[in-house]
Amino acid sequence: MSSVIRRDFLKTGGALIIGFSLRESLPAEDRGSVAGPPDAKQIDTWLAIHTDNTATVYIGFAELGQGNSTALLQVAAEELDLEMSQVRTVQLDTNVTPNQGGTYSSASIQRGGPQVRTAAAEARQALLQMASQKLEAPVEHLTVAKGVVSVAGSPDRSVTYGALVPDKPFHLAFTGTAPVKPPAEYKVVGARIPRNDIPDKVNGRYVYVQHVHLRGMLHGRVVRPRGQRAYGSGAKVGSLDESSIAEIPGARVVRRGDFVGVVAENEWDAVRAARQLKVTWDTAPTLPTQARLHEQMRAAKTTDRVVVQRGDVAGALAKAAHVVSESYRGPYQAHAPFGPNCAVAHVMPDRALVVCSTQDVYGTRNGLARLLDMPAEKIRVQYYEGSGTFGHSCYDDAAQAAALLSRLADKPVRLQFMRWDEHGWDNYGPAHVGEVQVASDAAGKIIAYQYEGWQHNWSAVETSAQLAGTPAADWPGGAAQQVSALNCGGMYDIANLRLVNHQLPGKDYLKGGWLRSPLDLSFSFASEQTIDALAYLAEIDPYQFRRQNITDARWLTVLDAVARSAKWTPRRAASQRSDGKVATGRGIGLGTHLVSYGAAVAEIEIHKETGRVVAKRLHGAVDAGLVVNPAFVENQISGQLVQTASRMFKEEVTFNTTNVTSLDWNSYPVLRFEECPEVTPIVVQRLNERSTGAGEEVMAAAAAAIANAFFDATGVRVREYPLTPSRVLAALSRAA
């Protein structure tokens, strides 16, 4: 049975386990015994050729269910002239895989693709030179197929890659100078190759981080208040009664400061002990009243920054024919991975192993080094996939909690969060207030645009570290944490434009973190509704209005592609409202993350008596430059459309002045099968453009399309999402 093999294998690795796929592909020379990152300027860091004429490609990006472990192999196979069956990769491991930065901002293909491509091209060049000597033929006369190099015209004169470099290192500097294939010759790149990870994910053999076990390990659980307080306030233990778990055999309490946990040999005992342990916590109120959250944000003292300033917005507003001035609100939303985060750690006096599902093994290693006060090189971090996280959920916190529990218990410890830990102590996607002013001339040309946004930055200290004594600190900032020049009017030609960012002090609010397409849903919800309102005033069809204000060919292409897919016929918004109990509407929207181009059309249904809104159909188009595998991007678009429906209709973190109160799937509902829209993904393939992200670039557009469809159906603008029944009923009655 696979799980037994899994555990036996891990056990044979001794205290320091080694992932199996890694072990299988070890080349003759030792790999994995030295702390990384391996030297990115060596070809051997990127790939190894094996005697059996296959190759292992070492990739610094995490498989998160998006297919990048297959797609990056497509890139390597293409340049090496190998079949997909001849290439494989390994799990991320700080002793093995290169540091390509974290797997976020949809970066795998964008940043990773070119590195893998040029390394593979350079390896091929070296292999051809070796083959040239061996076959006594000039390189120009050689051809390669399936890793077999032969002399053109005399196929009997051939040699395999595996014979040229049989599990031996290249010992070659990676210069990045080898010519790469022209896209016109691509056979593997651009093809719809099925994902490598799917068969094991359906047959039960896939090893998730939740399945990893170490010999002699204990099971651990953290003990925290149910639901976080304001980030800066952490949690404070009042009293702790260890005797309250005395009757659970083998369970014991471990503690450092306000970091409290339990460990036990048996997992269920650890779960019970964590539930039963009597701890009192400081309950002094530290959070805003939820109903007044946005007013408080709007009134707070902020750090302000003009992101873009061009032309004369005030002057243009003064002479405009149509002006729209609106204010919108976005909620805190949770990552809430389907399976709570989990990590296994073995912290020894002089070194440590931590197995977790971080999106960035080297970043996590640095955090652990600070927490454990140990040099980073003494810590080995290995990645195993967890449940889809879509940003900075509690995976780093899980890694740190496991490491602390292991150090305190002096044993290997497997830590899994309970549902309420994950829901209650997440780094939420921050709430947002957006105030937008947009103006056009009489013909519907946009002449002025202003966006002011209020939100706080991400939290830089994990909960475990904070409770153990590290003071809270905000993330220093960056493009994904402030008003977006792309989503806030960036797709339109606007002479007079001003974007202002108001950064709130994070410590007064909930913990923040990047959640798939950070802030973009809120930006587009505000900006694209305002654009739509302007189209309405100008009495122009919203698709046509956008078209006439865009000159960028790539924005126009995605917009046209999605309109075509939805069979969009021009009419003014809200011009076909029904008086029935169920209103239907359609909406269009644009948006992306930091790169690429996204457009969406939504068709929704509003049950006026109950306030229930359902998306019937969502179309989403993405232009992400060269798409390595269109099938994967289609799957990403589908997932983004469904998630956007979930975030627009359902998802909202709730809290009282003491704690977060949305702690499970009842208090934090998400979209289910019965309300799932039909989705139509559209990939705009651009073979000659550089690849850019595709994992989060259509959600902003879809959020806007949904909101605009609501107006089309009802003639009412929704100012705040999610569009829950109570909010919808309130909006409809205000308008009536």
């Binding site: 359906v202 399945h211 449940s387 997932g639 499970d664 799937w665 099968f673 039909e678």
Partner: protein, 168 residues
């Protein structure tokens, strides 16, 4: 003192040492080292831990192990054999048709929820071989997916239904 409980898992009788009130999930995933049923919420809200108990989809996270004595438990690992027994096939196929259909539709993303998805879909098709789309949505409604795979799961269940109709 933990007793010796006997339970029938994937047609094998297993003796387990867990206390009788231990949720079945911890026995399957811990003592029996099965990878199919997995923790999601522990609250019967998500379907991550689902198994079949006498052919009925059951949340193992809230089912005490003592409750399933004398019953037949099927986990993801035992699903092809369970299917073969139902269809009176001479040998178990490598995959249940639902599993194959999920591969054919490339429906999976992170895949963590797919234990529950596959268990529930198999239960559905064993009772309603040709479900309408509305029946599929209703049956599957208690199974969450954070990655948004629902549309492809629906297609895969329809595909599996067609494939099973072709099996005598």
């Amino acid at each position: 003192m933990p007793g010796e409980l006997k339970i029938r898992v994937n047609e094998q009788v297993r003796t387990v040492s867990a206390a009788p009130d231990t949720p079945l999930l911890y026995v399957l995933a811990g003592e029996l080292e099965l990878q199919g049923p997995r923790f999601g919420c522990g609250l019967a809200q998500c379907g991550s831990c689902s198994v079949l108990v006498n052919g009925v989809e059951t949340r193992s996270c809230v089912t005490p192990v003592s409750d399933v004595q004398g019953k037949s438990i099927t986990t993801l690992e035992g699903l092809p054999a369970w299917y073969a027994a139902q269809k009176k096939l001479r040998s178990a196929p490598p995959l249940h048709p639902v599993q194959q259909a999920l591969i054919d539709e490339q429906a999976v993303q992170c895949g963590y929820c797919f234990n529950g998805m596959i268990i529930k879909a198999s239960e559905l098709l064993s009772k309603v071989p040709q479900p309408t789309e509305a029946q599929i949505r209703t049956a599957m409604n208690g199974h969450l997916c954070r990655c948004g795979t629902y549309p492809r799961v629906i297609k895969a269940i329809q595909r599996a239904s067609r494939a099973m109709a072709g099996v005598a």
